[in-house]
Amino acid sequence: MTSAMTSTTAPIIDIRNLSKSFGETEVLRDVSLSVRPSEVVVIIGPSGSGKSTLLRCCNALEVPQKGAITVCETELVRDGVVLPEKQLNALRTQVGMVFQSFNLFPHLSVLHNVTVGPRMLSGQSRDEAEARAMELLEKVGLANKATAHPAQLSGGQKQRVAIARALAMKPRVMLFDEPTSALDPELVGEVLGVMKTLAEEGMTMLIVTHEMSFARDVADRVLVMDGEIIEEGPPSEIFLSPQHARTQNFLKSVLTRS
C-alpha cells in the first residue's frame, strides 16, 4: 500500500542540478526537472541546445558530470557515477526510448525486432512474446507487416515499429527524441497519432519535438531549453505569452519555418 502511494506521488524522472560537458563545451547547465506519473512533458529549443543530451542522460546513454537523476525510484547517476551495469540494464528496461533515426535492427523481421528484448531480458517464451508483440503491432497499425524486414517499411512505419519495440519491455516512461524529424511531412501524423494514444492511456512521456501543434494538444508542460531551462509552463502559457525574449525568438523562428 505504501509503495502504491509513493509511486503515485513520487516523480518517475527526477533530475537535480544536472551539468554535462563535452570536452570544454558545457551543454547542460544546472538543469532540474521532474516528470510525474502520466505526465507528458515536451522539450523545445534551438538546435544544439542540449535537448537530446538531456534525454540521453535519462537512460545513461550519456553520463552527466554533475547532479543526480532518479528514474523509477532508483538513482541512475550521481555526480558522474552511474548505477552498476546489472542494475543499469534492469532499469533501462523500464525506460523506453525512441530515436530520431528509428534504429530498428535491420537484420531482424518486424516481429523479431519487437520480441528480441522481451525474449532475452524478461524471460518470456517465444509464444508469449510474439502474442504480445502482435498486440502492440496491432496497436500501432502494423500487424500486417509482422514478417516484413525494416528495409521494406516507410519511415513512418519504421518509427511505429520502434515505438512497439520500446513498449514491448513494458516501460514506465517513454523518451522520444524528435521522433518525427526524419519523416516526410505526410508521414508525421501517423506517428504523432500513436503517441497521442499513448498519452491518453496514461503513459509518462518526455518528448523532444518541433511539432508545436502536437505539443499544444498533448503536453501537460512545455520546457524551453537553451543549455539550461529558460522557461517552463503549460503549453497555453508558453505558446501564447512567452516571458523570455529567447523563447519568443525561438517560437517565431519555428512558426515562420512551418
Binding site: 546513454l61 534492469a90 533501462r92 528496461t93 526510448m97 534504429n103 535492427f105 537484420h107 531480458l121 524486414h149
Partner: protein
C-alpha cells in the same frame, strides 16, 4: 621448347594427395584464424580496456610486421629449444592460423566499427548488456560485411600455405618438389601446381559468394 607433361600425369595421385593436405592445412588454419581473429578484433574495439587492447595490438603489429616464413620457422625450429616439439602439421596449421588471424582481426574490427552506433544504443536502451548487444545485434550485421574481405583473406591463406612445404609437410608444393627432384621438369610441374592452386582459390571464392548470397536472402539470423 619441348614440354613434357608425363611426370605430371605419373605423379598425379601424389599431387592430389598433396592438394588434400593443402586443403586440410588451410581449413584447420582457417578455423583457428577465424576464432582467434574474432577475439582479437573484438579486443581491439575499445582502447579504454588497456591490457586487452594493448596485447591485441601488439599481436597484430608483430604478426603483420614480420615474414610468415620467419614465424613458421620460429615455431618449427625455435620452439624445440624449449623442448616443445610439435609435429610439422601442427606447426604449419598453427603458424598459418596465427598469421591469418591478425588480418582477420582487422576485418572483424572494421566491420564492427562500420555498424551505425545507433544500433548499440537501441539495444542498450531496451536493457541489453553490451555483450548481448554485440552477440545479437552487432555481430550478425557485421558478419555480412566481413564476408567479401574474408574471401580475399581465405584465398591469401591458401596461397600462403605453400610455405608450409618448407616444414616438411607433404602439401601440394612439397609433392611437386619431390616429382621435380626426380624428373627435372620444373616448368611443367609448377604449371600444373599453379593450375591446381588456381582451382582451389576460385572454389573458395565461389563458396564464399554462395554463403554471402544465402545470408542476404535469409536475413542472416534464423
Amino acid at each position: 621448347m619441348n614440354l613434357d607433361f608425363s611426370p605430371v600425369w605419373q605423379g598425379w595421385p601424389y599431387l592430389m594427395q598433396g592438394a588434400l593436405v593443402t586443403i586440410e592445412v588451410t581449413s584447420s588454419a582457417l578455423l583457428l584464424s577465424v576464432s582467434l581473429g574474432l577475439l582479437i578484433g573484438i579486443g581491439r574495439l575499445n582502447p579504454k580496456r588497456r591490457v586487452i587492447y594493448g596485447l591485441a595490438s601488439a599481436y597484430v603489429t608483430f604478426i603483420r610486421g614480420t615474414p610468415l616464413l620467419v614465424q613458421l620457422f620460429l615455431l618449427y625450429f625455435g620452439l624445440p629449444q624449449f623442448n616443445i616439439m610439435l609435429p610439422a602439421f601442427v606447426c604449419g596449421t598453427l603458424g598459418l592460423g596465427i598469421y591469418s588471424a591478425a588480418y582477420v582481426s582487422e576485418i572483424v574490427r572494421g566491420a564492427i566499427q562500420s555498424i551505425d552506433h545507433g544500433q548499440v544504443e537501441a539495444a542498450r536502451s531496451i536493457g541489453m548488456s553490451s555483450r548481448q548487444a554485440m552477440r545479437v545485434i552487432i555481430l550478425p550485421q557485421a558478419a555480412l560485411r566481413m564476408i567479401p574481405p574474408f574471401g580475399n583473406e581465405f584465398i591469401a591463406l591458401i596461397k600462403n600455405s605453400a610455405l608450409v612445404s618448407l616444414l616438411t609437410i607433404s602439401d601440394l608444393m612439397h609433392e611437386a618438389q619431390i616429382i621435380i627432384s626426380t624428373s627435372y621438369r620444373s616448368l611443367e610441374v609448377y604449371l600444373a601446381v599453379a593450375f591446381i592452386y588456381l582451382i582451389l582459390t576460385n572454389a573458395a571464392g565461389f563458396a564464399l559468394r554462395l554463403i554471402e548470397r544465402r545470408m542476404k536472402a535469409g536475413g542472416i539470423l534464423q
